[in-house]
């Protein structure tokens, strides 16, 4: 498989020592807290849940017993009324006695006496218009009951006043039946003080699930049904459920098919649990905040020390080997010692290298000096040779060669006389060379204007540049200025981006249309083209025709271009 990976290279994964430290610190601080708080909270919740159900059961038991007591009163009265009817008293007299006792008992709304055909014989209080009314529509199965045994009906609307009621019936010796219309409003009022909490509700439910009594009497008036506990079955005599924000529990009332349901506000009941859980949550939160604060504080203090330490190490890296690296952390001492040892070793090695480098530079400088001297000797020899030539001999090519050698020698002279050996300021070099050439070719009336930037170039490029400059300036003197006394030669050297631009202008006669300096095969021009190629550059000539002068422009990159 290729080692190539397409797309952006993935950054090497690095971990932050501080982040790892802080993350672990937070985990160490929070996880145990949450676990402990959660366990304690859950245990408390379970415990209190059991306690709540137990207390609801007890409450139900108490309410069921109290309701039974309420009904016992009515049942004892119906038995007494039945005895009255079985006595020798007339129906009218029995009715008067019933009136007297009934008025003292608010749980009884009305007392009805029915004949064996379920027709109304007597009411207390009196309802004269109703006498003879057929009550056979009530599902009071007294025929199945023994004499004196009571039976309850389901909830009905009373035909006398339209209120919801339940009849308790009892058959006497004479087969006449006594019915009591229970005052369900009073049963509801009876339940009211049995509540523990103000938001608690108590209901008495018949076997169909309809409310017989309720701490909110509208439940009875509107014939509402129990909706939280669901339908009742024979075995649902005691059950508990939590729904719709209520904790409900139910219990059978002895001797009836009714059940008492106690509803407690779940929020109120769970107030204790909620506050305990809140405290546990608060503790967890406080622990979390403390852990975060401590973590951040530690992070800040450690960061400061590490930043100081890194700064010291950077100073050593930058050459301050003698700097002592100290840290308040024990763990960093071996590292500090190692860096100290490393610094010392590097300092010693650098000293040795500097010494070797100085020796090498001295040697190079000596070589440049000797090269310059040798070139000077060559110039002297050539001059001697020229002086021995006949007077009419052409010495121009000697002069040109001498100039070229001088141009080269000047480079070496600059190199051995300056501090660094790796580069030459070609601006300074150009000034010196132009000065030399003005001395050699100049005449009064020839003005040289130069604009030279300081540009540092390598030895190789400076040598080629110097020879080209020599040729161009020589041409300017020889052909541009010629024999004139008002000539101007302008030399401009500047950097333009990565390139160096050398421009040599004269205001001479220019070159004729037939002459193309770029193609001429004179030694000077050939040399210029060849050297410009070496520099990866080029030379351009411009001439505006007669008396418009010549402009030669050399452009080359300052740095040698790679292959």
């Amino acid at each position: 498989m290729s080692g190539y990976v397409k797309g952006r290279p993935r950054r090497a994964e690095r971990s932050s020592l501080l982040n790892i430290f802080i993350a672990n610190l937070l985990l160490a601080a929070t996880v145990p807290t949450f676990v402990v708080a959660g366990t304690v909270g859950f245990s408390l919740y379970r415990y209190l849940q059991r306690e709540i159900h137990a207390s609801s059961h007890s409450l139900n038991e108490a309410v069921a017993m109290e309701t039974r007591r309420f009904l016992n009163g009515a049942e004892s009265h119906i038995a007494a009324y039945s005895d009255l009817l079985d006595s020798e008293l007339s129906l009218t007299d029995a009715g008067r006695l019933i009136d007297i006792t009934r008025e003292a008992h608010p749980e009884i709304t009305r007392v009805l006496v029915l004949d064996p055909e379920a027709r109304l014989l007597l009411t207390s209080p009196a309802e004269p218009g109703s006498i003879g009314r057929d009550f056979s529509g009530l599902d009071l199965a007294l025929g199945d009951k023994a004499q004196g045994e009571v039976a309850y009906t389901r909830a009905y609307l009373s035909p006398f006043d339209g209120t919801v009621t339940v009849y308790i019936g009892c058959r006497g010796d004479s087969n006449r039946s006594v019915l009591i219309e229970l005052n369900l409003e009073s049963l509801s009022l009876f339940l009211l003080p049995l509540r523990i909490g103000q938001k608690d509700r108590i209901g008495i439910i018949d076997e169909a699930g309809r409310f017989i009594a309720h701490t909110s009497p509208d439940y009875v008036r509107e014939q509402r049904y129990e909706t939280i506990l669901g339908p009742f079955t024979a075995d649902s005599s005691a059950r508990s459920i939590e729904l719709e924000g209520m904790l409900a529990s139910v219990m059978a009332i002895p001797g009836t098919s009714w059940r008492v349901a106690y509803y407690r506000d779940a929020t109120e009941v769970r107030g204790v649990i909620a506050s305990l859980l809140n405290i546990a949550g608060l503790i967890s939160l406080v622990c979390l905040i403390i852990a975060v604060t401590i973590g951040l504080s530690i992070r800040r203090s450690i960061s400061r020390v590490i930043a100081h330490y890194i700064s010291d190490v950077q100073a050593v890296a930058e050459g301050f080997y003698e700097k002592e690296i100290s840290s308040p952390f024990e763990e960093f001492i071996p590292l500090s010692q190692s860096i100290g040892v490393m610094g010392t070793a590097v300092a010693e090695r650098e000293g040795r290298l500097r010494g070797a480098l100085g020796e090498r530079e001295q040697l190079l400088r000596e070589i440049h000096h000797r090269v310059k001297n040798n070139l000077q000797i060559i110039i002297s020899l050539l001059n001697l040779e020229v002086s021995r030539l006949p007077e009419d001999a052409d010495t121009a090519s000697f002069s040109a060669s001498i100039d070229r050698i001088h141009a080269m020698g000047l480079i070496h002279q600059i190199l051995y006389s300056q501090g660094s050996l790796d580069a030459v300021d070609i601006g300074d070099y150009s000034a010196r060379l132009i000065s030399y050439m003005s001395g050699a070719y100049g005449r009064p009336g020839v003005r040289i204007e130069q604009e030279l930037e300081s540009i540092r170039a390598s030895l190789d490029r400076a040598l080629s540049f110097g020879l080209i400059l020599n040729e161009l300036v020589t041409n300017a003197f020889k052909y541009g200025a010629a024999e004139r006394t008002d000539a101007i030669i302008r030399i401009c050297l500047r950097a333009e981006g990565p390139d160096v631009i050398l421009r040599v202008d004269d205001d001479g006669p220019g070159f004729s249309e037939e002459l193309n300096p770029g193609l001429t095969d004179s030694l000077g021009m050939t040399l210029v083209r060849s050297l410009a190629d070496q520099l990866s550059g080029g030379v351009a000539w411009e001439s505006g025709g007669a008396q418009a002068g010549v402009r030669a422009t050399l452009r080359f990159p300052l740095e040698e271009r790679g292959i």
């Binding site: 971990s15 932050s16 982040n19 790892i20 993350a23 672990n24 937070l26 985990l27 929070t30 996880v31 949450f34 379920a118 218009g129 003879g132 009314r133 057929d134 009550f135 056979s136 529509g137 009530l138 009905y156 609307l157 035909p159 006398f160 006043d161 339209g162 076997e207 169909a208 699930g209 309809r210 509208d218 008036r221 509107e222 014939q223 049904y225 909706t227 339908p231």
Partner: protein
Amino acid sequence: MFTNGRAAAINGALLTVFAAFALASCAPKPFVIGVPLGLTGLNANVGVHGRNGIQLAAEEINASGGVRGRPLKLMIEDDLDTPEGGLAAAKALEGKGALAFVGHMSSASASLSIGYLSARRLVLISPTVSSTDFSGLDDYFFRIIGPNDAQGAALAAEALRRGYRTASIVYNSINRAYSLKVEEGFKKAFEAGGGRTFPPHAIDASSSYDFKALATLILNENSDTVLCAASAFDLSSLSQALAATSASLPLLGSMWARTPDLMVFGGRTVDGIVLAAGGDSEGPNPELRRFVERYRERYGEEPVFSALYGYEAMRVLALAMAEARTLDGPGIKAALLARTTFPGIQGDIDFDRYGDTERPYFLFEVRAGRFVRIR
């Protein structure tokens, strides 16, 4: 030792647990449905059964995911079966944020609130308001039951079929919007069939009303039968009063009286009474059978007509809410009118462009304390 990533993962898991606890407490907000009904007084049986049917439907709808993912919440208010009570209940429920209404079981209780709710562009679907006073109006009132004059016509046809030629008439003056339309339908059909009716007697449905005096007046008319367009309490009390005179006069009752209270209040005296009513709980529709079973299981007794219509009304509203483009009165009204047919447990429900329906009435006779369908 934990790495950086693992520690972050554990911290993330802890945060997720807390976020899950926080999100668990967010339940979808329910749609509030206003349910005004007559729940108290001598005629409460119709309203109580209607409420039970509506509750059963809402429980089923909520159990199957609610409407548009949100549950229905019923706000129930006693309208006392009176015009003023109906208006007060509608206002109270509007104040509680009801989006739409299902309720009013008597025409009296709906008589003021229909205009009030229509002015506020709130849809009201009544299970049993049958008065033709509200027919043919382009309002926000819809009903599941057919027009009540058809009840009178059905009873008149049965009276003529039994050979009755003269009829006394009794009507409930509190719910006159309903009872007078039954009386009109009866009179029109009875007289068209060759019968003759006496001027109607008004009763006020109170326990102090002198039914014995009324019985005497009727007996003096010497008619073949008596139409009682009134409640179960009224009809049973009249029946008791007539029975006390030992006179045997056949009674005809309207749908309002077709509740178990008729037998409770009337005992054996109501045997033989013929009533016109919709909502035959013994119909063959399997969905109806399932509803009856559930109703028995839930409330421990047989559903009466108002329970059936209440159940259907709630389901119709839920379906319209699910199909409405906008969940407001105009949107729900448009959805109700856009659909040609709504499925009901007693057969399809077809609204005309005024939100009225034409659904059949059946005839029942009380035999041995039970309603037996005769036609």
